[in-house]
Subunit: 344 residues, 2 copies
């Protein structure tokens, strides 16, 4: 098996603001794994706050020796090798790089077996729900304009809250749309009591779920809030991999799984199984990514209660066509083998 990779910075259609930072570009690395003339695609997307960079991803990928494996279907061996390649290195943080390999291997396996990945996972694509489309923080005029642009194409909107003026943001949206909303506070509320007050108001505004209301390590606060919140609390920044699902039982109603955080489809599947076992809801999220990584996450969409898979719709230079589509607001899975994406 041969591994190739190259940096591919993503251009955002709109400058994007969450509580803490604004940006117009996201660093990204595209990879391809080829075996006997068949190629699987993968991708590492690196939002700056997760600690990876084009340099760190390329340095990690340069150490991955796939020539030692002669069957791409032996994912248990290959992914175990990749997952442990940085064991013992202080501060090692190569989950996006690992996710890229995991995604490309799954794509390759699906193409070699002639099956979409979701089918190899035993899933039913008609269970996919609506994806949210994220409305960034902006002036009321711009927010209303953005909402009007996507009305009809999406069935749910996601709103970034947790900063000054977020009630006005919700009210601006409600002036032009009655779509169900989810909100993401990105750890932005300062206390459990203040968060509860906000959530109780949001519940009156057609909001159906709240993401990461409090700082990620404030588990006591999150537990207190989860016991009282009228809306489901889904944790994102508090969650990285499978171990966290067990650790966070009781501190939330569910978890947001992202391939770039956990290292790919294999750990994501385990997280879903753990969440089900522990009675927790599942959200699937993404970074700003191309159709490659978004379609990879979408392979698990039949298992999710909430989907936030709009990453590829936020960029202007997606190099792929095909893959999952959002049709009438719903995630709609491809029927082609692997990820079903191609470079036009």
């Amino acid at each position: 098996m041969q591994l190739r990779y190259h940096p591919y910075p993503l251009q955002l259609q709109h400058t994007f603001t969450v509580s803490g930072c604004s940006r117009s570009q996201t660093p990204d690395v595209l990879i391809a794994i080829t075996h006997q003339g068949v190629t699987g695609y993968g991708e590492a997307s690196m939002p700056p706050y997760l600690g990876e960079s084009i340099e760190s991803v390329c340095a990690f990928l340069a150490r991955v020796d796939l020539f030692q494996f002669d069957d791409p279907l032996r994912t248990d061996d290959i992914l175990s090798y990749v997952m442990h390649l940085d064991d013992g290195e202080p501060g090692a943080h190569n989950y996006a790089a690992k996710a890229a390999i995991d995604i490309a291997l799954h794509d390759l396996a699906g193409r070699l077996l002639g099956q979409p990945i979701w089918r190899l996972f035993g899933l039913s694509p008609e269970h996919c729900t609506y994806t949210t489309y994220t409305i960034g923080i902006d002036t009321p005029d711009v927010v209303r304009q953005k909402v009007r642009e996507v009305e009809g194409r999406f069935g749910r909107l996601k709103v970034k809250v947790g900063i000054e003026g977020d009630r006005r943001l919700i009210e601006s949206i409600r002036e032009v749309s009655d779509l169900p909303l989810t909100v993401d506070a990105n750890q932005g509320w300062s206390s459990p009591e203040m968060a509860l007050e906000q959530i109780e108001w949001l519940a009156t505004q057609g909001v159906i779920m709240v993401e990461q209301p409090l700082p990620k390590h404030d588990l006591d606060g999150l537990q207190w809030l989860t016991e009282r919140s009228p809306l489901p609390i889904i944790l994102d920044e508090s969650v990285q991999g499978p171990e966290d699902v067990i650790r966070l039982k009781g501190c939330c109603h569910g978890i947001n799984i992202k391939l770039m955080k956990c290292g790919g489809l294999a750990p994501a599947r385990l997280m879903i199984q753990l969440a089900r076992m522990l009675g927790m809801q599942v959200m699937l999220g993404c970074m700003t990514e191309t159709s490659c990584a978004v379609t990879a996450a979408a392979q698990l969409a039949p298992c999710a209660d909430y989907l936030d898979l709009d990453g590829n719709l936020l960029i202007s230079n997606d190099p792929f066509q095909g893959g999952m589509q959002v049709i009438n607001g719903r995630v709609t899975l491809q029927t082609e083998p692997g990820l079903g994406i191609y470079e036009p």
Copy 2:
């Protein structure tokens, strides 16, 4: 999809004694699921101590409506339906019946995709270790005779201990063989202190692992023993499904996974992933079963530290040929699609 099933009592080659009971027959139900002319095989084996019977298994299977599903690869939906079919029924205990469906569906999926099940699981068959062959409790003469019969064919022996005279049993074996031994006390030792004393002696006799030394609910005793034992402690009766893996962390070095206890390959895979995550060893065991269920368990053998997959070798009326073989003592996986078994 069409489901057929029929009782098929298994005849044991030798009357089998463990601490607590003797028997010469095991109740068993064989099933077949057919879709578009392709058939997958499954099996429910019911050792009496697990609470299922031919009647209970057939009654459960009679309620399973597979006609509602038109794609056997949608295992997430189908197995979820089967797993929850007895929800809320007090004392419901249909894990062997559920395992039969799970096994047949995996066999069918493998046959439809033209792949052995282990390959669809991403595993590498060359990682399979030795399986043990179980020497029942008997007189020293008979024990020596049984050991001589299998010497050369097996690389490890398993000995049932935990009753009067078990040191003499080990010594009888050591007179004729120096193969590594595992021992299974089947909850038979009366106290942690007494168990530790036995284990310390066993460690001097070439024993490499101890199964279920204490009563299944004595977690305090098991934890005390695990902290002190010179040999790995693997739990069997204490373990049923995935929840138990989390619960038993610290009370053992590993777990014995059996398809008839946990409900099939899907929960068994989750148990393996949990055990790895929690740093626990994995043993794969079986009941007295035909080549069908033993070959199904063997699909996960590349993930296991200990294998006890001799169930089909203990019966005289195995209706299947093909499937996994024990070659030079090692589990050797089939390369044919599905389970690779057939009715001659």
